[in-house]
Amino acid sequence: MKNRLRRCHFLFCFGLAALLLAAGSTVFAQHEVRGTVTDAETDEPLIGVNIMVLGTTIGTTTDANGVYMLTAPEPDATLQFSYLGFDTREIPIEGREQIDVTMTPTEIVGEELVIVGYGVQRRRDVTGSIGRVEGDRLARIPTQSVDQTLQGVSAGIQVTPSSGAPGASSVIRIRGVGTLNDASPLFVVDGMILDDINFLNPNDIESVDILKDASAAAIYGARGANGVILITTNRSTIDRPTEIKVNTYYGWQEVARTVPLTNAREFATLANEAAMNEGRTPPFEDPTQFGEGTDWQDEIFRVAPIRSISISAAGGTSRTAYNLSASVTGQDGIIHNNYLDRYSFRVNNDYYLTDNIQVGHNLAFIYEDFRNAPGVVGTAYRADPTVPVFTEDGNYSPTDARASVGNPVADLEFNSNNENFRQRLAGNAYLHIDFLDHFRYRSNFGIDVNRTHNRNFSPIFFVSAIQQSEQRSINVSNNYANKILWENTVQFQRTIDEHRIDLLSGVTFEQFRSENLGGGRINVIGDDPSLWYLNAADDSEGMTNFNSAGEWAIFSVLGRANYTWRDRYMLTTSLRYDGSSRFGELNRYGWFPSFGLGWVVTDEPFLPDLPWLDLIKPRISWGILGNDRIGNYEYAATVAGNLNAVFGPGGNIYFGALPISLSNPEIRWEETTQTNIGIETVFLNQRLSIDADYYRRDTDGILVAIPIPGYIGVEGQPIVNAAEVRNSGFELTINWQESRGRFFYSIGGNMTTVSNEVLDLGRGNEEIFGGGVGIGGMLATRTIIGQPIGSFFGYKTDGIFQNQDEIDAGPLRGGEQPGDLRYVDITGDGQITTDDRTDLGSPIPDLIFSFNVEFAYLGFDLSASFTGQAGNKIYNAKKQARFGTPNFERAALDRWTEDNPSTTYPRITDGGHNYLVSDFFIEDGDFLKLQNLTLGYTIGSQISERIGFSTLRVYASASNLFTWTGYEGYTPEIASPSVIANGIDDAFYPFARTINLGINATF
């Protein structure tokens, strides 16, 4: 690594040259000026106002009393006073030695700042679509992971938790799904590009900015196609007294919903019926002998605690600003035997070395200790309720007689012997040099060092034939992933009369390398955790070792020009040029341009000054973005190794190698062309704001594996840039807030529509099947031109055959009996064949929405946030996978029998006709969830100060409190990282309902 960096010396040259220029431009001063800066409205002194001598790099800031002092190079120079939230003033010195200045606050809307890639922009000047969330909103709701807190915060973003396991990450989609591959957005934390944000301490977050359209995200070029999420963590400013904050909570989590299943007596009845329907001997002589039996879901779930304490200290001296934080969070899983403990530290400091040179760093260190639970949710869903957890002699009962699954409780004991640690150091250090009045050079060096360590032990045990281990085995693996990022940018900002110009250009280089190393042994000498090491095992047999690595690098040149004329007309253009090691020499580089226009109509003189109208700003943008998330070496023609042959007496292994797959040296980026038309409005003296956007994202050159005939003989399908997908829709955000005396309230909501359509799948690729379900992995989704990605595909049902006459009337697959599902003859050829399978709806919601309300009165605050979606389907695959005779959902009690001519549930069988992929297993995924409800009370300052706090708030908060849905699973929020196999519910770790009590205190 060191060697490689040295070869990148040009970046140093760049930095050094800029430094020299900056230093060379500094001239020694002659004229001393002092004075006080105050707020024109309140007469309060302003602390930290920036004062610059125009045309020089000389500058200072006001102290805690609003006093400044500086030495100007000449007595007729001009001073520029700038302060966030106030209008900048330029005052000629005219030989004076004392200049007191008053500053007027700027209109709030105009000066609201948003973070954009490689910089900050006034909200007013933004021509792209950016959703912003302030960190205090995130910190007030206790959640352990940052990505979940993003659910519902902004239009256009869909956040679906993938599992309720401690530390599990969510699947995030911005404006639909624009690829058949990895559709996750890019995360940028304080300028450092990261793959996930789950490790962050939510209390550390200052703001989250979601770059949705091309104008905003194109500066990230080849990686911006799925949207960009920019996270800024807390920092401080100079000359500020230290403020210590403590946020702590304790909570209880429990499974939000369980699936209603049949009890022992009902199961025995149905199991007998299934056996008789299939011509087998009924397994139970007398179902009525059973009572409720075992509720396996009860046995695996528990009420689990979650606790967290986070302490931060922020302040600043005259040259240094610091923000330190530490937090400890412990979460036990709602399933037994798993937990996550996370310790995180952050140091975000800024050092003002000279008047024009500033350095600083944002560094986070995270240590995690966790244990994973085995996948017992599906087992508990299937396990036979007639079997007790333990036998009479205290051993685990075998549960495989009918259901063919292991005992879930035994699984929790025997298959959760794992230890995992993760250490991560992520952050960056930067250098700013301001030179020649309007230039700022910034060099940003980031690192992300991520190490995980896993160890998995299996003891000797015997529960049943399918749940046993004859050996003690141990598997250990170490993974490391290192990333460096080096960015060098020069920014030029200047306002000349009516023209505001902001130019940025730079180069960035990023390099990633990961490697894993591990091994496994059998015959470990004992069960004790102190023996869970490879050297505590017999290495004469069953030894495995592995090691592999991958790396990539990306080199980019970027530029952006923002121009505002008369504060009313805005133009943003950006251009990024990316080169990535993931693409072969034929298509290694790509250009990613964008343009955006904005117009503040309300500032036009021709418009009458209406008191109720604050802002109307239409904007439009267009740009091209890329997606480079493919394997590291897809372009390379590799020789497959380890195609070993065995020869010789006793069998010796001989290495074999041959190129057996096709490579595609022409592989290139997936390219998304995005158009956005939007309008921002503010009414009624800032009380009401309404933003609306229309977006269209066309992704072309999506990498797909092209199916070729098997007789070609190539192993694996060649990957080519072929498919095209369009996502389009509307976003609407409405917020209302008002203070009436001591009563404050706000109501806000947002909604997004997503229309997803596959436009092309490449030559020979009429359809791509995915989503294996049921026994044998029948494919339940089909991606086809004209439909949304990953639409469900199977038979449409039309009720149930009630009698032989109806069967004789057909159409039939063959072998139907009364009580079987009637499939619809789509082709109309009088019989049911595989050609009768048809589109059965999409897992992609048509509408995503959320809204929240907030009230505050006399120290009390109450907030509620809701989120929901509509129009999507869920495939209940867990119901379909019947391996043997597992437990039934209670809906099966209404099955068809001769005495109960059900029209909704077919006769009971364990396979065959009724278990084909059909809409019988598809349910509506619409839901509305009360995501969070929080009641807080801030103790009056007289009281809190007396006991040593400057502010003190106590609160109670509930997450995932209720979900209104027709879906009968654990949750209607079903996510899969695979976009072609999404919305398939196969019993994963469900989410928790959490009740927390917490304290926010400031000293």
Binding site: T544, L575, I712
Partner: protein
């Protein structure tokens, strides 16, 4: 022009140091044509003193880029640029062709489904719902979308691709010409092996003899006669260039040999009904002296029996610490449950069970029953798995404990045995009118099955393991032999001896009936060996008293004596004409049972329809002789492929 301007400015200001760093970046430079406009815009906004220096800075950045860092070579993987350069790599590449023989798609699930389970020899096995699609093969209800029909097709073509890549590259590889010829011959042998699978299974198939270019992807079917011609050509080349088995160094044991190529030629000609060539190649192998029948049939399928003198071609597998040499052929057929040795697929059928003649010990060498001791000598017993129906295992694919876990099964896949060749010789000789030689070859095989014994009383005895004695609660009996199987109408059956019968009641085993053999004609029986010795001591057709302990569920054991007629064991076949052919075919079945020969034999012999229909399976003549061409393949060939008749 703009591009030029930038250059001039650069040259004016550049120092020598920069020159040295410049040439690295030609590709990037080509892309810069569009940038100057932006640069000029930027430059014009700059203060004068910067206007000339900034381009230098930018040039520095852009032209000395980190481009070289974008060349990332795959880590831990070889690329094609530096492959097939020497002898060592040529050998590795050929090893990759052999590697395919252990593959899932060639010799595991799909293969067992399309050879054994589909035939009258086996049923799917495992639990009723496990891999239910294989049941469709068993019932001949599969269709063109069946995954095994596709899987085996793809597997064989992937093997063909590997041999084709080798055959394309070997001629240009700098290496010893003799070794090159041998490797070419090995690849051609394997290609013939794969094509023979395809042409038997699917009829006319695309004949592809080199890697195709994308323009050639839409292939039509080649008449099977042409495919057979290619197979013959490949095998003849192999027979001409491969060493004899004995000529290979020991370390190369398992590679294709001249004998294997000639044996394959005999088999292929038999399928082509060219009996003259078939007999001639079979005799050539017989007279080569390279092969011999192993005395003990039981031994063939044990670990010690791997690569025995009887082995003509055998896919080598091994279970090592590293785990890289195993095959799932044994795993999927291994005992499911306790002991847990596999997945429990491919059960020998009741029909096969009944096909063995009384006292034919190949019966016990072929089928592993519940409550029987494992052949690994550990004294463990197969415990009845109550989730499986009609449980029996393929003992020929058995392996006991092995290192590691999954995919690490050490069982060699015996693809061509000498007894198979002898029976091919017998059938070809019969067809060529040489009944005497045909009988001789056939009786050679039967003689070995007798293991030196001459007599039987129609009872296959089995050692009662301590485990079984315990489970059946037979504590007061010692662990002697019990009667495993009594054929209906056989001498023991007529004498009233009944076979061991057990049933399941709520997961507990209940023995309904069990005959423990106490003595034969006064000779005390303590184990199977003593039983066999006692039988051999009797004279043919004598009726001798056999004393048994009969144990019935819930009753005390009862001792009684039955009189059993002693018969000659597996007598030499003396028949002629059709009866002789039938005898040869029957012998093929019992000798090669569960070795995946049966289905293609039945089809070749033209009696698949009769045999399967007799078992109640709806075999449609003119349809089921071939598998369907996989529908996926027809679609992906842009319908250049056609479907087989009646599918």
């Amino acid at each position: 022009m703009l591009h030029l301007t930038l250059h001039i400015q650069m040259n004016r200001q550049m120092n020598t140091n920069l020159h040295t760093t410049l040439p690295a970046a030609h590709t990037l430079r080509a892309h810069l044509l569009h940038l100057p406009r932006l640069l000029r815009m930027l430059r014009n906004t700059l203060p004068l003193q910067l206007r000339n220096t900034l381009p230098v800075l930018l040039a520095l950045v852009l032209f000395t880029g980190c481009e070289s860092h974008l060349d990332k070579t795959p880590l831990g993987q070889q690329t094609t640029e530096n492959f097939f350069t020497d002898e060592e790599e040529a050998i590795q590449a050929t090893n990759a062709s052999y590697n395919k023989l252990r593959d899932w798609n060639i010799h595991v699930f799909d293969f067992l489904g399309l050879t054994d389970m589909i035939s009258d020899d086996a049923t799917k096995g495992s639990t009723p719902t496990d891999a239910a699609f294989l049941t469709e093969l068993e019932n001949l209800t599969h269709d063109a979308g069946h995954q095994s029909v596709l899987g085996w097709w793809i597997g064989n073509y992937q093997g063909i691709y590997r041999t084709n890549v080798n055959l394309q590259n070997l001629p240009d590889t700098d290496m010893n010409p003799d070794l090159r010829n041998r490797l070419m011959a090995e690849n051609r042998f394997l290609r013939a092996y794969f094509y023979f699978n395809l042409v038997r299974g699917y009829g006319d198939v695309p004949l592809i003899t080199r890697p195709l270019t994308p323009e050639e992807y839409d292939q039509e079917r080649t008449p099977s006669a042409n495919v057979y011609a290619q197979i013959i050509e490949d095998l003849e080349f192999a027979a001409d260039h491969l060493p004899l088995k004995s000529q290979y160094p020991a370390a190369d044991l398992g590679r294709a040999t001249q004998g294997a190529a000639e044996s394959m030629l005999a088999r292929v000609y038999l399928y082509m009904e060219d009996y003259g060539q078939a007999e001639s190649y079979a005799r050539s192998v017989i007279t080569s002296g390279e092969y011999d029948l192993l005395d003990d049939y039981f031994m063939i399928f044990t670990e010690q029996g791997e690569n025995s003198p009887e082995s003509i071609f055998e896919v080598q597998a091994t279970a090592t610490e590293e785990g890289a040499g195993g095959s799932q052929y044994g795993q999927v057929q291994g005992v499911r449950g306790t002991p847990n040795l596999g997945w429990g697929f491919n059960h020998p059928s009741r029909d096969l069970d009944a096909a063995f003649e009384p006292g034919d010990l190949r019966h016990q060498a072929t089928i592993l029953f519940p409550w029987e001791e494992l052949p690994d000598g550990t004294g463990r017993t197969v415990i009845e798995n109550h989730t499986m129906e009609d449980e029996r295992y393929n003992k020929k694919a058995f392996a006991g404990d092995f290192p590691g876990t999954i995919d690490n099964y050490p069982v060699n896949i015996r693809r061509f045995r000498y007894s198979d060749l002898l029976l091919i010789a017998a059938e070809a000789a019969y067809r060529n009118g040489n009944e005497g030689d045909a009988r001789q070859f056939l009786n050679d095989v039967r003689e070995r099955a007798r293991v030196g014994r001459t007599l039987t009383i129609g009872i296959l005895p089995e050692n009662a393991s301590p485990h079984m004695v315990n489970v059946l609660n037979l504590g007061d009996l010692d662990t002697r032999v019990f009667a495993r199987m009594v054929h209906e109408g056989g001498p023991a059956d007529l004498a009233g001896i009944e076979s061991f019968d057990h049933s399941l009641d709520r997961g507990r085993v209940r023995a309904n009936l069990l005959d423990m053999i106490v003595s034969v004609n006064g000779i005390a029986i303590t184990d199977r060996e003593s039983f066999l010795d006692a039988v051999d001591a009797q004279s043919d057709d004598a009726t001798v008293p056999v004393v048994v302990h009969r144990i019935r569920h819930g009753q005390s054991p009862e001792e009684f004596t039955v009189n059993v007629t002693v018969q000659e064991l597996l007598p030499d076949v003396t028949a002629s004409g059709q009866a002789l052919l039938d005898a040869i075919w029957h012998e093929r079945r019992v000798e090669l049972a569960m070795e995946q020969k049966r289905w293609f034999d039945l089809v070749r012999q033209g009696r698949a329809a009769q045999v399967m229909q007799d078992l109640g399976v709806n075999f449609v003549t003119g349809k089921h002789e071939l598998f369907p061409i996989p529908q996926n393949e027809i679609d992906l060939s842009n319908r250049a492929l056609t479907q087989n008749p009646n599918w």
